[in-house]
């Protein structure tokens, strides 16, 4: 099986390096960061932390070098999905492409360029330490299912899930993958931007009653939009939010959006709160709080370009 990871940042690297451990899998990586690509080709792709792994991965910044692949795993930041998949689509002319990205709307962007699409949600996380070397922070499950308008076949989704699981990335193939995706979306949309706007860690947001009430207001809007689409969440985001706020879990965690804001990088808010607003609009569900939070974070981004 030939698999290409599109966007080989932290999460992409977790998939690429682990999958490269399998005898029956050949892993390619497409990424625009030249130094990272060169380091991977020279020394392999190394993970440390939750697992110590070095994988042999063929990396390139030139999409034309990619051979035909049976699977793509897209792991770019959400705003780069369209460009990355447009550039690499020729490699997946006869393949299926999965998104393991944050937010909502990535599968739609992939489906503009690819015939068979897999809806995915993944929880493992890490960060890039240096070119070719990724810190694996937390292990976690991945869920894959068909993207309904342009679905991959059930058998191929199971094949990819099996490969990931054998590689040490526990992955489940399901008939409806929207539940875990919306659970993660609602969690992120209700918490990440509040960290980004205030500068507070996850735990400190949650211990302030007024901000915690705002989190619930955002969660409730997200749940209403999910319910209008008949999506059954696989867990209650409220419980996960409280769990994560515990000292021993993620009290001190700075949301990725806060890290983006501190580094003045464009955030994924269009695909989090913006996604909830868009789907709410399509299903007649009002989302005034998500709308406000979306615009405020866009305002933060606009303040950098003044």
């Amino acid at each position: 099986v030939r698999i290409c990871v599109v966007g080989c940042g932290a999460v992409g690297s977790l998939f690429a390096a682990n999958l490269a451990q399998l005898e029956d899998v050949e892993v390619w990586a497409y990424d625009l960061a030249r130094e990272h690509v060169d380091a991977i080709n020279a020394n392999g792709l190394r993970l440390s932390g939750a697992g110590e792994v070095v994988g042999t991965v063929r990396a390139t910044s030139d999409a034309q070098e990619l051979p035909a692949c049976e699977f793509g795993i897209v792991a770019t930041k959400a705003m780069h999905t369209s460009a990355a998949v447009a550039a690499t689509a020729h490699a997946f002319a006869d393949g299926a492409v999965a998104s393991v990205q944050n937010g909502i709307g990535n599968e739609e962007a992939i489906a503009e360029h690819v015939e068979r699409v897999i809806r995915g949600t993944t929880f493992p996380a890490g960060k890039l330490l240096e070119p070719g070397h990724v810190q694996w922070d937390v292990k976690g499950d991945t869920t894959l299912g068909p993207f309904e308008p342009k679905p991959a076949q059930r058998a191929e989704i199971e094949r990819l899930a099996d490969a990931c699981t054998r590689a040490g990335m526990p992955t489940q193939a399901v008939a409806d993958a929207r539940g875990p995706q919306w659970r993660k979306l609602i969690f992120n949309a209700a918490t990440n931007p509040l960290g980004a706007l205030t500068g507070l860690t996850h735990g400190r947001v949650c211990e302030r009653p007024d901000l915690r009430a705002l989190v619930t207001g955002l969660v409730d809007e997200g749940k209403a939009v999910a319910a209008a689409q008949r999506i059954e969440l696989d867990a209650d985001p409220e419980e996960l939010i409280d769990h994560a706020a515990r000292k021993e879990v993620a009290y001190d965690h700075k949301a990725s959006m806060l890290q983006d804001v501190e580094a003045r990088r464009r955030t994924e808010v269009d695909f989090l709160n913006g996604g909830i607003v868009r789907f709410g609009g399509e299903h007649g569900v009002p989302t005034p709080l998500n709308q406000a939070i979306w615009a405020l974070v866009k305002g933060v981004e606009a303040s950098w370009t003044r």
Binding site: L197, V205, D210, L289, A295, L296, G299, V300, A302, R306
Partner: protein, 306 residues
């Protein structure tokens, strides 16, 4: 006849009042810092920008060292109000005291420390302090003055005339609450959004073309504020949305004080402004979820650097 004026607090607004009034009355300045008082006594107070002159003032850090004034203008920031008012307790019972703080409730804070006849002020002028003895007069907009509680309209008129003779703009109103509320809603919205996004008060605040444009949120926040005013039986002096649109078209993107405060990691005026509006909403049973959100977020931002 108002012959002696004491200005309490020599920030931007206090300095602009003290210097201008120094041209038509004997002006003293009650400062918080010794060094500030010494500098003012030695060098006077320089105004640049819209006007250009130097006024001589006498300054001290306790009322005992200052001549008894006919008029006291309390011009501290909201955060310094209680401390400044407590210093006045027991002094100058014959003097008229005027507050010019943003938001609502400054008069009540001062009232706790003495039975002076009082005036309410709302000021729209702005500037920049370049040093303890130099203030730049940037926006030569009006100060609105009205009697507080059972004080007379004539007392407000006398102060209004004095302010106009000094070269500043003033309008005297029989009931200041409509003006105070217009500015309250304007400040809660514009200052809050500026503090959270980092944007100066520029065109973004009036933009309503795209779905994620900030103008939608600003408009919705203003509408919530107007609903609170209606419930409190206040007929607004100006429409805060129109004030917002007008201000963004002036060509000078104002740096709202709340943004200045969060950038300098200082406590903001969020309690007198957003807190006051949200408490009025609760008092009158009006739902204001977006104003509640902005209030919680700005308080969270303060907590992040406290």
């Amino acid at each position: 006849m108002i012959e002696r004026v004491c200005v309490v607090g020599a920030g931007v607004i206090g300095s602009l009042f003290a210097a201008h009034l120094g041209r038509v009355a004997a002006v003293s300045v009650l400062c918080r810092r010794d060094e500030h008082a010494r500098e003012l006594n030695a060098h006077g107070l320089r105004v640049s920008g819209k006007h250009d002159f130097v006024a001589s003032v006498s300054a001290a850090v306790t009322p005992d060292e200052l001549a008894v004034p006919d008029l006291v203008i309390v011009a501290t920031k909201g955060a310094g109000l209680d401390g400044a008012a407590s210093v006045l307790a027991g002094h100058w019972p014959e003097a008229t005291v005027m507050t010019v703080q943003n938001g609502l409730g400054a008069e009540e804070v001062v009232r706790r420390y003495g039975d002076w006849p009082m005036l309410s002020g709302v000021t729209f002028m702005s500037g920049t302090k370049h040093s303890d003895t130099h203030v730049e007069y940037i926006l030569d907009t009006e100060t609105w003055i009205g009697p507080y509680k059972d004080n007379s309209f004539e007392a407000a008129q006398e102060v209004g005339e004095l302010v106009v003779r000094s070269g500043l703009k003033a309008e005297v109103l029989a009931d200041l609450r409509p003006a105070q509320w217009s500015k309250l809603i304007f400040n809660a919205t514009v200052n809050g959004v500026a503090a959270l996004t980092g944007l100066r008060h520029d065109f973004h605040f009036a933009a309503e073309d795209e779905q994620a444009d900030l103008g939608h949120v600003v408009h919705a926040l203003v509408d919530e504020g107007k609903a609170v005013a209606r419930a409190a039986a206040i007929e607004l002096h100006d429409d805060p949305w129109e004030m917002n649109v007008l201000a963004t078209r002036r060509g000078h993107a104002h740096l709202p004080s709340m943004l200045e405060d969060v950038q300098a990691h200082r406590p903001t005026e969020v309690e007198l402004i957003n807190g006051a509006l949200v408490r009025k909403a609760r008092e009158h049973g009006v739902e204001a979820p977006l104003q509640e959100a902005v209030y919680a977020l700005v308080r969270g931002k303060e907590a992040s650097y406290a």
